[in-house]
Every structure is written in C-alpha cells, then in structure tokens.
C-alpha cells in the first residue's frame, strides 16, 4: 500500500509536484500517467527517498522508504535504464545489489533467467541494447522478490518486441498479486494492464479513478459541434456544466451528450452547422485531459 499525502516539490519558483494525494491499494496495478515533465518521475523519486519533498509525505507500507531495513525486499524500483555502470557486467551489477540487501546469491541467477538475460550475464552493460538494459533494470527491481514495484517509464524507447515483452511482464507481475505503480507518458501502453489510473498534469492530480470508470467518463460522451457563433455556444455550454475545447473551427464538448448540446443551441437560437458524437481512443481522452489543465495552468 502506497500512501501519498500533500506531496509537493518546488525548485525555486517552479512547482514540479503540487500537493499530490493518492493511494495505491495492495494488489493493484496503477498507471501513473502524464506528459513528460508532469511530475511523475519527481513523485517516484520522492517515494524512493531520493528527493526530499518540499511538503507532504510519501509512505510505502506505512513507512518512509528511507526507514525500510532491507528496502529491496519490500520495494523494487526501475528508475532509468542507464542506472547500471556500463563497465560492469550484468551479473556483477546484480551481485552488488543483492549483497547490499543481504539477499541470497542464487537470486541473481533467478532474476537473470526470469528476464531472459542468462546468456548475456557475463557481458558488460555497455554493449547492451536499450531493451536489454530495461530487462536488467527489471531484474534488479525483482531481486528482492518485493511485493511492491515502482516502474518509471518501463516501455520508454523500446522497440515493438520489447514493448510486447514488458506488457506481458507487467501482466505477470499483476497476476502474482503484486502492487505495481507504473508511470508512462503513453496512456495506451499501460492502460491495457492497469486496474486504476492516476493522471497528473503540471504536478497536480487530474484523475484518480478505476480504468472502467475513466473509460466511461472520458471516452463515451464526446460531442463535436460546428457553429457560426462558437464563442456564444461555448459560453452557453460552459454554463450548462460541460467542458469545451476548440478544435480547428469546431468545438469539442465533454460531459453532456449530443442531444443536450442540440437542445441548448435550439433554446438560445444558435444555428448549428454540424453536430455529432464520436467514440475516441483512450489516448485522445488522455491528451485532452492533460491539455485542458495545461491551458488552465497558463
């Protein structure tokens, strides 16, 4: 169980993480989504005790990470794939990690097998492809067989094969009953395996919702409407409680259905040129959600 309460990180004037509060319940896979620079990595770094919060707390199993006795037994983390020394072999990288938490030496062989790096174990990390580095990072995260995993952009920069592999791997971790928090700037990638979504923009929490509820709320009711009086209609729809964004001459309306938009237009005598609703992808929903806050923040 991960508990984040009022977590804030400021770098001078810049607010990287702004009063974040959320829980990651035990045994769920939670996707931590946001554009690059939204504050995902900073949040994970504070969870791991690498960065000191300006305010608030981040706890794992009720304790601050730095207070964990043998942290790799409780939490596995994948931060960035370059965090292994290029001149060290994969096996030696895992050997020192195992030693640091008094983990049995046979775990090194086991995790190497698990991620399919057995044959590359004696090679220096320098010669590894990005996909192999990512696997090594996941092997390191699993070394202590931890119940909680924090994975920062595990599919970033991977080729199709690597993405397929890590997707299957994430599903496997979930099936083991582990608690997984996985960050990504690609919503479609992780949504397929996640139970729950946390969406951040400009350091703030935009959504904290189960995946099915998010789909129902954000992908179903989207209306596209074109009118000669876009500003007027936008004002009317906003007053009706809808969310409205502009899309090259047309308006995109969320939160109400097409019939409702038509009724509002008719009631106020706004001539419509086009009205329709269309389904859209999760990726679109995500982009529009984060775009909206970007405007709000500007």
């Amino acid at each position: 169980m991960i508990e984040v309460r009022g977590l804030t990180k400021r770098y001078g004037e810049v607010v990287a993480v702004d009063d974040l509060t959320f829980d990651v319940p035990e045994g769920t896979v939670t996707a931590f989504l946001g554009r690059n620079g939204a504050g995902k990595s900073t949040t994970l770094r504070m969870l791991l005790g690498l960065d000191r919060p300006t305010a608030g707390t981040a706890r794992i199993g009720g304790r601050a990470y730095a207070d964990l006795e043998r942290p790799l037994r409780s939490v596995g983390a994948l931060l960035d794939s370059s965090a292994a020394h290029p001149a060290r072999t994969a096996r030696d990288h895992l050997r020192w990690l195992a030693a640091s938490n008094a983990l049995p030496a046979h775990r090194v062989r086991e995790v190497l097998d698990l991620v399919g790096l057995r044959s590359a174990a004696g090679r220096r990390v320098r010669g590894f492809s990005l996909g192999m580095r990512q696997r090594l990072g996941i092997a390191a995260a699993l070394l202590g067989d931890p119940p909680v995993l924090l994975l920062d952009e595990p599919v970033n920069g991977l080729d199709a094969e690597g993405i397929r592999w890590s997707r299957a791997f994430l599903r496997g971790l979930a099936a083991d009953g582990r608690t997984v928090l996985v960050s990504s700037h690609l919503m479609g990638e992780v949504a397929q395996t996640a139970d729950h979504l946390l969406v951040v923009g400009s350091g703030r929490l935009l959504a904290d919702t189960p995946l099915p509820a998010f789909l129902a709320e954000h992908t179903a009711r989207r209306v596209r409407v074109r009118t000669a009086q876009p500003d007027r209609l936008r004002g009317l729809l906003l007053a009706a409680g809808a969310t409205v964004t502009r899309d090259d001459g047309a308006l995109r309306v969320f939160g109400v259905d097409a019939a409702h938009v038509g009724a509002v237009a008719a009631r106020h005598g706004v001539p419509l040129l086009e009205l329709g609703s269309d389904g859209r992808s999760l990726e679109d929903a995500f982009l529009e959600l984060t775009a909206a806050t970007r405007e709000a923040a500007a």
Binding site: R45, L48, G49, L50, D51, R52, Y65, A66, D67, L68, P71, L72, A77, L79, D80, S82, A83, A84, H85, P86, A87, R88, T89, D92, R95, W96, L97, A99, S100, N101, A102, A140
Partner: protein, 247 residues
C-alpha cells in the same frame, strides 16, 4: 553495515578502472622512485640536506594522480553514470552508504600503498648501494608506514571532494592541479610556506621525511594527524551534503 560494505567492495572491484588506477599508482611510485635514485641518487646522497625518505618516495606525488583518479571514479563516477540512484535506492541510509564507500576506497589504497612503499624502499636502496638505508635505519620504518598512510588519507579527502562536487571532470580539474602543482608550489613561496605545510598533502609529506626542514612547524606524527583531520573534516562535509541534497 557488513552488507553495505560487501556491496561497495563488489562495486569497486568489478570495475577494471579500479585495478588500472591502482596499477598506475604502483608504477608511478615505484618506477619514479627507482628512476630518480638510479639517475641522481648518488649525487643527492652526497648533499648535506639529503633525506633518504624524500628521495626514495619521490614518486608519491605522481602516485597521487592515480589516487585522485581512483577516488573520483569511485565517487563522482556514481553521479556520472547515475548509478548513485540505484545505490541510494538499495541503501537509503546515506551515512552508511558513504561510510562503506570511503572505507572500501581507503582499504584498497592502503593495501596497495603499503605494498608499494615496502617494495619501493627495498628497490631504491638496492639501486643506491652503499649509501642506502633500510627499515632498521632510525625513522625509516616510520617513513615507510607514512608512505602507506599518506596516500590512504589523501584518498579519503579526494573521495569526499568527489561526493561533494558530483562531477568527474569538475572533481579532477579541482584536485589534480591542486595536489600536483598548486600545493607543492605554495610551499616554495617564502611568505606562504609555513601555512602551506598545513595543506593535506604537504602535511602528509612531512611524515615521509626522515629529517625536518627549517620551514616545518610540526613533526611527522603531527603531519599525519593533520592530514587525518582534513580527511575527517572532508568526510563529515560530504556526509552533511549527501544527507541534505536530492540525489
């Protein structure tokens, strides 16, 4: 703590650069010592201010470049490779992490420097022949022990600076000119020399001499003590900064 020490030991000893820099130390100290003795040893030995310790361990100054490089690779190198994130995730207690790192680095330098000091003494005095000294010569055992402790403590100073600067090039650009050029030169400036002998490397060098010079204001044991104080102060500063700063 043993787990953290073992981890730092594996980290240091699984990098080829560690062994290369230690080999560089041996070659510099023993090689330059023998070279100097072979070329000017008999002339120097006839001088009234001849100090067998200074001549035998003439290579120490050059060996220090290897010590500095090793110290920086073990510390700032973690920041250059971002492995410090992995390290601190595995060992969140930063004091333990730093203590283990400094201990492992110091042990590696101590063992290497002790063996090198002994070998250098034996080799240089064999080359010198008749005017040569031995461990039985009063002060020479102490000078040889100092020739092992001096680089070890200097390594601690340099590792602490590496942790503070967190940048390999920056740390090297600071440490190499300072200990290789600036500090020895300051000792030659008349108005500064009595202060310059308190600098870490100059204080350590006092302990390697058999005879004190007119500018020396403290003896060999005090010299090592002053260097140890520098090492302790640098380590404390590094610990304070490591605890305070974001990784």
């Amino acid at each position: 703590m043993t787990a953290v020490l073992r981890a730092e030991w594996i980290k240091a000893t699984t990098l080829r650069s560690t062994w290369l820099t230690l080999l560089g130390y041996v070659v510099a100290v023993a090689g330059i010592g023998v070279g100097v003795v072979a070329s000017v040893g008999d002339v120097e030995a006839a001088q009234p201010d001849y100090d067998p310790g200074t001549i035998a361990f003439y290579g120490l100054n050059f060996g220090h470049v290897a010590v500095i490089v090793l110290a920086v690779l073990l510390t700032a190198g973690e920041y250059a490779r971002k492995t410090v994130h992995t390290s601190l995730v595995a060992v969140p207690r930063r004091g333990a992490f730093l203590a283990a790192k400094l201990t492992v680095g110091a042990v590696l330098v101590l063992v290497t420097a002790a063996a090198t000091a002994l070998a250098t003494l034996l080799l240089t005095q064999a080359v010198l022949g008749a005017p040569g000294v031995s461990l039985a010569t009063p002060g020479m055992l102490r000078a040889t022990v100092a020739a092992a402790l001096y680089p070890t403590l200097l390594a601690v100073v340099c590792m602490a600076v590496g942790m503070l600067v967190r940048d390999q090039a920056g740390a090297l650009a600071l440490l190499v000119p300072f200990f290789f050029l600036l500090s020895p030169l300051l000792e030659l400036v008349p108005v500064l020399q009595r202060a310059a002998v308190f600098l870490p490397d100059r204080a350590g060098a006092v302990a390697v001499r058999l005879h004190s010079r007119p500018i020396d204001v403290f003896g060999p044991v005090a010299g090592l003590g002053i260097l140890a104080l520098w090492a302790a102060a640098a380590a404390l500063l590094a610990w304070w900064a490591l605890r305070r700063r974001d990784a």
